[in-house]
Amino acid sequence: MSRNRRYPDEIAGPFESPPVTFEDRDGREIEIRAHDGSDEEYEALASMYDAFDPADRAQGIPPSEERRIREWLDNILCVECLNVVAWDGDTAAGHATLVPDGDAYELAIFVLQAYQEAGIGTHLMKGLLGYGAESGVEKVWLTVERWNKAAVGLYKKIGFEVSDSESFEMEMGIRLSDGSDEGG
């Protein structure tokens, strides 16, 4: 069910597209890369979500059981979907995704508990939006629990604006281009 969503008039960014390497606040070297579609990366993501603390679930995702995790991953790693992963060596430490929704994309981001509060979320978001802008994405929306101050703060810092605050969860949107400029 798609409905009219509101987006800021102003274009956010620019955001640097992946790959991006940085040292996180715990001294780990983290690389943000676009998902390459390989089985190895898929399995690394499945392991990350298998280890994911259910306390950090948002509106039912990620699911908690292996079969459901794989069904969900198949859905969000679709051909038209855009995915970036934060790597600590071969370990997937975080993952952010854009799933097509009409003329816009829905965004979600997850950082494994052991890697939280180390600045990885910010880099992942910027990497995903850079990848999105580069791929021609114009508008992105997300929902977040209103009590999740850390997440709301991160989204606002990146350039998201609240578009609907009447439901249990709050909706936010960002504009990456005005659609008039193809590529560039």
């Binding site: 069910m1 929704d101 979600a108 439901s167 249990f168």
Partner: protein
């Protein structure tokens, strides 16, 4: 139990319908189906009604069918409380393209305001 099932035109409502009717057969619940016109959903009121009659007939369940006009959430709560229902049953929400569960405004209102127990069917 006396059950008030509120259904609209989204997929979660049809799932709630199927499960609630099956459960009514097993448990001998007395069922009332309240059809909600939420507007902007995939199915019209007529389509919902034919799904309801079909499911009831298939399962051999005799249930009253009503139509809820006006604000559906407050109307459901009012009917359940004033007419002595034991439980309100609603669909458990739709999912976003990402797979996130999203509750409709009717479910949100009922959950926060009903003094009668509420079941969301997942």
């Amino acid at each position: 139990m006396r059950i008030l099932l509120g259904i609209g035109g989204a997929d979660d409502s049809l799932q709630a319908l199927a499960r609630t009717v099956e459960r009514a057969v097993e448990a001998g619940d007395e069922l009332t189906v309240a059809i909600i016109d939420e507007g902007g959903t995939e199915r019209s009121v007529e389509e919902i009604e034919s799904a309801v009659t079909e499911t009831l007939e298939e399962n051999g369940v005799d249930a009253e069918i009503r139509y809820v006009a006006g604000d559906p959430g407050s109307k459901l709560v009012d009917v359940a409380e004033s007419e002595g229902y034991d439980r309100i049953v609603l669909g458990g929400g739709t999912t976003s393209p990402m797979g996130k569960i999203q509750l409709g405004s009717t479910a949100e209102f009922v959950l926060l305001n009903s003094h009668v127990s509420v079941t969301l069917v997942r």
